[in-house]
Symmetry: C2
Subunit: 258 residues, 2 copies
Amino acid sequence: MLKGFNGWALEGFPLVKAGDDIGGMIVETCENNGLELEDGDIIVIAQKVVSKAEQRVVTLSGVVPSEEARELARSTGKSPRFIGLVLNETRKVLKASKDLLLVEDRRGLVCINAGIDKSNVEDRGRYVLLPEDPDLSADRCRRRIGELTDKNVGIIVSDTYSRPFRRGQVNFAIGTAGVKLFKDYRGKRDLFGRVLKVKNVAVVDELAAAAELLMGQADESMPVVVFKKLGHLLESNGNHNIAELFISEEEDLFRGVL
Amino acid sequence: MLKGFNGWALEGFPLVKAGDDIGGMIVETCENNGLELEDGDIIVIAQKVVSKAEQRVVTLSGVVPSEEARELARSTGKSPRFIGLVLNETRKVLKASKDLLLVEDRRGLVCINAGIDKSNVEDRGRYVLLPEDPDLSADRCRRRIGELTDKNVGIIVSDTYSRPFRRGQVNFAIGTAGVKLFKDYRGKRDLFGRVLKVKNVAVVDELAAAAELLMGQADESMPVVVFKKLGHLLESNGNHNIAELFISEEEDLFRGVL
């Protein structure tokens, strides 16, 4: 018996507006696509549609840049208001240089510009912030799909970020509900009986990365991917907190490297 | 029409010995599994089986540790011979601290212990080095499968590594043949006609990550995963050099962060 999984991108997912019910839209688009949702399905949703539904789209006009924002604007060459917007979402600035503002955001996520972006937004001059609490967004969607279909699915909210050492971006998990963060092999044995000491694989990030292969980043408009036959990666006893994935500076093996 | 892909793990892949023909073994195991190889298939192979076939398994007894190795052994608490082994594979030591030796290896790959590992090796006291040239390993396998089946497939050699900022490991590409490294969106337009400036997605790493979901790290023995319906990610005009994925310290946005 071959062991495998399938990933499906939902065609024709509607453009999302403030207040939209993402869970309901997923159920409807699955129906339109003839794709039946089943127990154990894992659904990866691009952050941008979640943010739009949650009204996390803002203009710069309301932003009053602080002194810190003005200073960082000078060193990065970006607009003071844009930097002000990023700082509102930021716990700690990790690096500010020409063209780059890398931060640890309020949620503990390390990313450029606190994940704020303006691609795939209708109105020029508007910026999309990350969801206030991506775990909660995922959980809301999971419950809504449960209500509508009576199926137990897992949800991942994902976004695409640069990473150190390697060129290009990959998709990462930024919020989850009902999905295992890790496949923990520590204490398990290898093929020849040796105990594994370190292996703790971040499957939630691997699922996010896999979903991106179908999503696309430009005008493909495929913000939702459904994985089938990976039900063993569902978390049976409740939700996980994505913050468990974020490593503190003190614990980070790579501290002091870059 | 739903757009999707499938990933299949090959059951019953034999234990690999020095000199084994990995390409031939993949073709045979696919046949045994009733899985037909087709043009456009992308095959991800765990580094360990490639290294074993290429006789990259060594003992520490032949290693004569240099003065540098002895010094690093003191600061990391590891054996001088093991450190000597790592240094043989290393271009530059990035960090040496208690229990950790992070290096840029001879191939430009940033990883702990130059990717040297002893899990899933038959004999105690033996260590597996990365393939000498993982691109060449991938290319050899691709040609062999082409010879045997007349199909044009892509190959990725992958390994599982820790990464900064996030807990746990994920699978990365360390060598490829015939697969696109990136889906480059720079200059393309988003849903609303805005030109994308930065997006250049490292699909080869996303494919490696996706494969890990089926491979496992312990005694599952699923070192080969075949992806179907992702043929648009094949590189039509020849092979890529994985080194194009490695970013120099000077260019790394994250420089100075950790």
